[in-house]
């Protein structure tokens, strides 16, 4: 087979992992990487704000590495259309890039609510490296910072904001924090923990307008109340970057519809990461999981298929973990399934909470909240993931968990979860080191 021309659109997690895997598999085809930004990890930006690392730490593929992989780069460029019949990607400035196979990994953009003043000065996203630089430059030691939004992304940034600003207020339109990551009980524990550490939480609060006031801003809430602050960080959601594909041959639902090999409705065009709609590992439903490990696995699976290995993607397991001010909160799989049988344990004085959701003997979802010293002394986070991922039958052990929901280790070991998991690899062989 002649060497293929691979074109990778997007230098985020999915794109870079696709390129790395292609070369690890010995694929000698040409690779062209088209991206609006150079490769870096958004996951790492909060730690840059916390000042634990420098900006360069976020880089996922240096120019030297890209050269070693023999990748032709077109950075600062965006795709404006796709000629899927002619196998050409159309870029801004009228250029066309021909391909034999194409990966669309254009990721997501931060969206702001349609509120007057939301696009004004003093209002930041914290999504791109440029956003992070902006917040990093602006936040002062005695500043009052307001975070609008209290979802997972807001919470990943919160530690950084708390470490840099004098006073922090979180404004959330839903009636509680982390509405799409943990349940009411878990959110209550996290809320009380944060409030005790001086963070002001305003849930059920709709922002009506934002006005510039001197060097700061004034946020008007729906009820007429105003919050004066020095800096506003918006974390009000993200949306997949798919507008440029509308009206073309690629079938789009919530994301690009792909098959088990991550091929779109046009077979030599693949999709991965935040723009790809793939099977939920637990439920089998088609969903977009805009999370790092899913983007990583998508990218690697696409590479294997581009390299001719015919690898089936097993499905995406929803999972998140945030740590704020020393409290860990994590969730897996169908943690919010209203039909599931629930076993839970809440130890209020210890700020500890476990919730397990079952379909028969199979754990289909889990929530964990506990202070970090306890989380890592017990270390049952990964075991919950293993139980949901493997789907082992916990059988009689459900009664055990009802008695002691905090003792997951014995059921995990005794149900031979390890034996179930050991043969699993994403690509059908052992993974090589990311740095060779």
């Amino acid at each position: 087979m002649a060497d293929k021309r691979h074109v990778i659109l997007g230098a985020g997690t999915a794109g870079i992992n696709c390129i790395r895997t292609l070369r690890q598999l010995g694929d000698t085809g040409s690779i062209t990487l088209v991206a609006s930004e150079p490769p870096y990890s958004r996951m790492v930006l909060p730690y840059y704000l916390e000042q634990g690392i420098g900006e360069s730490h976020a880089t996922t593929a240096s120019p030297v590495q890209l050269e070693r992989w023999n990748v032709k780069t077109l950075f600062g460029r965006t795709a404006v259309g796709l000629d899927s019949a002619g196998n050409k990607l159309k870029l801004d400035k009228g250029e066309e890039v021909p391909y034999d196979d194409l990966l669309i990994a254009t990721g997501s953009s931060a969206v702001r609510p349609p509120v007057p003043g939301a696009d004004g000065p003093g209002v930041f996203n914290f999504w791109t490296l440029a956003d992070a630089r902006g917040v990093n430059r602006t936040v002062a030691k005695d500043a009052h910072a307001v975070m609008i939004g209290a979802g997972f992304i807001a919470f990943t940034i919160l530690n950084g904001i708390i470490s840099r600003a004098g006073k922090v207020t979180v404004v959330e339109v839903a009636d509680r924090i982390l509405p799409r990551m943990i349940d009411d009980t878990g959110a209550g524990i996290v809320s009380r923990w944060l409030e005790r550490r001086g963070v002001t939480l305003r849930t059920g609060a709709k922002v009506a307008s934002i006005e510039r006031q001197g060097t700061g801003s004034a946020i008007a809430l729906g009820g007429g109340e105003k919050i004066a602050c020095d800096l506003i960080v918006m974390a009000t959601g993200i949306k997949p970057n798919l507008d440029w594909l509308k009206g073309g041959k690629i079938e789009i639902n919530r994301g690009i519809v792909v098959d088990d090999r991550l091929r779109s409705s046009v077979p030599n065009v693949y999709a991965a990461g935040d723009v790809a709609e793939t099977r939920n590992l637990v439920t089998g439903a088609r969903e977009v999981h805009a999370i790092e490990p899913t983007a990583m696995d998508h990218g690697r699976t696409v590479a294997a298929n581009m390299a001719g290995q015919n690898v089936r993607y097993p499905g995406s397991l929803a999972m998140n973990i945030v740590a704020v001010a020393g409290l860990d909160a994590a969730s897996f799989g169908s943690w919010d399934d209203p039909k599931a049988e629930v076993i839970e344990g809440h130890d209020a004085p210890r700020h500890a909470y476990r919730k397990y959701l079952f379909d028969g003997g199979r754990m289909i979802g889990a929530i964990l909240v506990s202070p970090d010293a306890e989380t890592w002394a017990g270390n049952d986070v990964g075991m919950l993931k293993g139980l949901v991922q493997s789907g082992v039958d916990l059988g009689a052990w459900k009664k055990w968990l009802k008695q002691d929901p905090f003792d997951i280790k014995k059921p995990y070991l005794a149900c031979r979860t390890v034996a179930q998991l050991l043969p699993h690899t994403l690509l059908g062989h052992a993974s090589p080191s990311p740095r060779v």
Partner: protein
């Protein structure tokens, strides 16, 4: 302290090398390293050494946890060990449990900054200077063997002490040995057998 941090990253066992300088380590290890390199990049780790665990031999003395925590964090503190002894059947049976260095390397493939790599000893090892402490590896690992050092704010896992695992060296009964073996669920059958009584008790209490 500083030397040991460096040793974690480079995969060389500073302490062990010092303590057992008599053994001709360099010559003994060279062929294995070469074999590991020859097997790269995609081949498995069939010929590699691994921690073989025979829980039937474990007395619950916790010396493995102590040795591990001392090697990994410079403190005799089992809560910081990356090998953990599970107590079964009302503390009458014990079983040491640690990372199996699985073929997928869920921690390694999930890390957003490439901070987990395969060391010359064949272990998935955390590079401290790359790890930002995001904990993604801890939810990606389905074995519960990806730990987190709260004080240093870094992920922590078994790195096979650079090829001279101190848990095995410290085990007085041979329940943990470092030998050429395939990966197995060392604890599953034992844990099932040694919790049947407990399980029946809890189950009847739950009625």
């Amino acid at each position: 302290m500083v030397a040991k941090r460096a040793s974690r990253a480079s995969g060389k066992p500073a302490r062990a090398a010092k303590a057992k300088a008599v053994r001709p380590r360099k010559t003994a290890r060279a062929p294995r390293k070469a074999a590991a390199r020859a097997a790269a990049p995609v081949r498995g780790r069939e010929a590699m050494k691994a921690l073989k665990i025979e829980p039937e031999k474990c007395t619950g003395c916790m010396r493995c946890e102590l040795a591990c925590s001392y090697m990994q964090t410079d403190a005799f503190q089992p809560a910081k060990a990356v090998i953990r002894v599970a107590a079964l059947e009302g503390h009458t049976s014990y079983a040491p449990y640690t990372c199996l260095q699985c073929a997928e390397g869920w921690c390694m493939t999930a890390c957003p900054v490439g901070a987990i790599t395969i060391s010359p000893a064949g272990a998935k090892a955390v590079l401290d200077d790359r790890c930002v402490g995001c904990k993604l590896c801890t939810i990606a690992c389905p074995y519960g063997t990806m730990h987190f050092d709260v004080d240093r704010h870094k992920a922590a896992k078994c790195n096979l002490c650079g090829g001279d695992p101190q848990c095995a060296a410290a085990c007085p009964t041979g329940a943990i040995v470092y030998v050429e073996t395939d990966n197995r669920d060392w604890l599953g059958v034992f844990a099932a057998g040694r919790s049947a009584f407990d399980l029946a008790g809890k189950a009847s209490a739950a009625h």
